[in-house]
């Protein structure tokens, strides 16, 4: 399409319907977006009206109550510990399952679909709900939080691990088959070296996510800084809430920094 001295390059649609395909899909897409917006009561006007309330809320939180910091040290450490063990257990659960959920090395299509759905279910149940269930099972405290994060995390990690396995180069796998290697030998020498970088990267990402999740698990009594956060809100001590939020932000930023450094170090080729 020529626009004076310029030319607009558009991919020519292929197939029998040609441009008519777009004539149908575009209105449908717009309709879906409109329907979603209506269902979620999106409204810029409401948001604009609400700005004064936001400012009011923020002003109640400012300045943060620095005296509250010393009460937060133990819960913050507990949060980090919950995140660490939640991630480790999630990895330990995900690794054996992910091989069955990878289309290219799963023993059969039925097993593959079953495993995928199992992982979807564990991912689908929110961590807070899982934490509630496990508080009932093992009592109040951080252990319930660890189990909740482990199970939810296993679903997400299992899916990512399986997807990295599906993306590997099949060439080396074929070469290993041709040497007479058994299935587990093929996995150890052919699959794992190719996926290990991606696995470590997503595990570090999962740790960061778990850290953020651990901060709110306290809401249901599963330990960590969330208890103080929600408690201060319920007591209308917004200055204390501000301190909690700042501590959480600092923890997440530190975890992000450390994990990006670790990932860079791994990419460079530590074996």
């Amino acid at each position: 399409m020529n626009l004076g001295p310029y030319a607009l390059l558009l991919a020519r649609p292929s197939g029998a319907l040609g441009w008519w395909k777009h004539a149908i899909t575009i209105p449908v897409a717009v309709a879906v977006l409109w329907w979603s917006a209506a269902g979620t009561q999106l409204s810029l006007a409401e948001l604009a009206n609400g700005v004064p309330w936001i400012i009011d809320f923020l002003s109640r939180m400012f300045p943060p109550n620095w005296g509250f910091l010393e009460k937060l040290v133990r819960p913050a450490i507990e949060t980090i510990q919950i995140a660490i063990w939640g991630t480790i257990f999630a990895i330990l659960l995900a690794v054996p399952l992910c091989f069955f959920a990878a289309r290219n090395i799963s023993p059969s299509l039925a097993v593959f679909h079953l495993m995928r759905q199992v992982l979807n279910v564990t991912r689908g149940i929110n961590e807070i709900i899982l934490a509630l269930i496990f508080v009932a099972a093992v009592g109040l405290g951080p252990f319930a939080g660890v189990i909740a994060l482990a199970i939810h995390g296993a679903g997400m990690l299992g899916k990512f691990f399986a997807e990295s396995i599906e993306e590997i180069d099949q060439g080396p796998i074929e070469a290993l088959r041709a040497t007479g290697a058994g299935p587990i030998q093929t996995i150890v020498f052919g699959v794992i070296p190719q996926v290990i970088t991606a696995w470590i990267a997503v595990s570090l990402y999962r740790f960061e996510t778990n850290l953020r999740q651990a901060t709110v698990l306290g809401m249901v009594g599963a330990g960590g800084i969330g208890f103080e956060l929600v408690g201060s809100m319920k007591l209308f001590q917004y200055h204390d809430t501000a301190t909690c939020i700042l501590v959480i932000i600092v923890m997440v930023m530190t975890a992000d920094y450390i994990s990006s450094k670790l990932r860079a170090w791994i990419q460079e080729g530590a074996r």
């Binding site: 080396p172 070469a175 041709a178 290697a181 058994g182 190719q194 290990i196």
Partner: protein
């Protein structure tokens, strides 16, 4: 060593191999020549059952090949394969890649823990010495050049201590000098260790230089079986049917220009030679014995 009778391979409607019959005696260096899509790779892959045949019998070292797991493992220990795209594991070190050749015979559980018998490690180093890569034993394989990676592939094949090596276009991705080096390693291994080698190639000159016997495959059938000295023009035309009527791509002409006079043969086509009498013409300078 290898006996193929009535081998047929069908992919759906497409018949890739039509009733191939071939016998390869032990220790022979056989080159399979043929155009792309002729079925050379399929033929090789049927021998070690990476591709299960549709019909026909293949005997390796006297034993009929079948899909039984234990038999397959035993078969693949005896038959090593070298691939066009090297198929080495990039993140592993060179030594470990060569050691993967021993996985068929190494004790399973120990190998999962990266524990190999010491004599296997010694054997791997010996194979690396044979391809002149022992200095790079601990280097990560993705840091090597293409030619070096293929030498790792050869070392891996040799580490299996196989009776047969199947080389599927081993030099297709390499420059001429490296190709010659790789082919020499294969030839040397075959001669010194008595390994039967079946090598797919599309470079006729390497077939002439290295092969003891050449089999020409075209469109799934064997069209030639003889010594490299018997590779006349007529035979080459049988193997590569469209050798003469491939058109040279012409450079785009502006309107009004006349077509340039057709050149006697295109400068960049390696198969082109001036029309010769029916006798063998070497692609290298005449007078070199082979």
């Amino acid at each position: 060593m290898i006996e193929i009778r009535g081998l047929v391979k069908r992919y759906g409607e497409l018949e890739a191999l039509h009733r191939i019959d071939l016998t390869v005696p032990p220790g022979e260096f056989l080159v399979v020549l043929g155009p792309s899509g002729a079925g050379k790779s399929t033929l090789l892959r049927c021998i070690n059952r990476l591709t299960p045949p549709t019909a026909g019998e293949i005997r390796v070292d006297g034993e009929l090949t079948c899909d039984d797991r234990a038999a397959l493992r035993a078969l693949r220990c005896k038959v090593a394969m070298i691939f066009q795209h090297y198929n080495v594991v990039p993140r592993l070190s060179v030594l470990k890649n060569v050691l993967t050749g021993r996985l068929g015979s190494a004790p399973s559980v120990l190998s999962w823990l990266q524990i190999f018998p010491r004599r296997d490690v010694e054997l791997a180093r010996e194979c690396l010495r044979r391809v002149e890569l022992e200095a790079k034993a601990d280097v990560r394989t993705d840091r090597l050049s293409g030619g070096q990676k293929q030498r790792v592939g050869i070392a891996r094949a040799l580490a299996q201590q196989p009776k047969i090596i199947l080389a599927d276009e081993p030099v297709a991705s390499l420059d001429p000098k490296t190709s010659r080096t790789v082919m020499s390693y294969l030839k040397q291994a075959s001669r010194e260790l008595g390994i039967t080698v079946v090598c797919n190639l599309h470079q006729v000159e390497y077939a002439r230089e290295f092969a003891e016997r050449v089999v020409g495959v075209s469109a799934g059938r064997i069209v030639f079986d003889g010594r490299p000295g018997e590779l006349t023009d007529e035979v080459l035309h049988r193997i590569y049917p469209s050798l003469d009527d491939g058109e040279t791509p012409q450079s785009p002409r502006r309107a009004g220009e006349a077509a340039p006079a057709a050149s006697p043969w295109p400068a960049d086509d390696p198969w082109r030679r001036p029309p010769a009498p029916q006798r063998v013409v070497g692609l290298r300078e005449a007078g070199k014995p082979h």
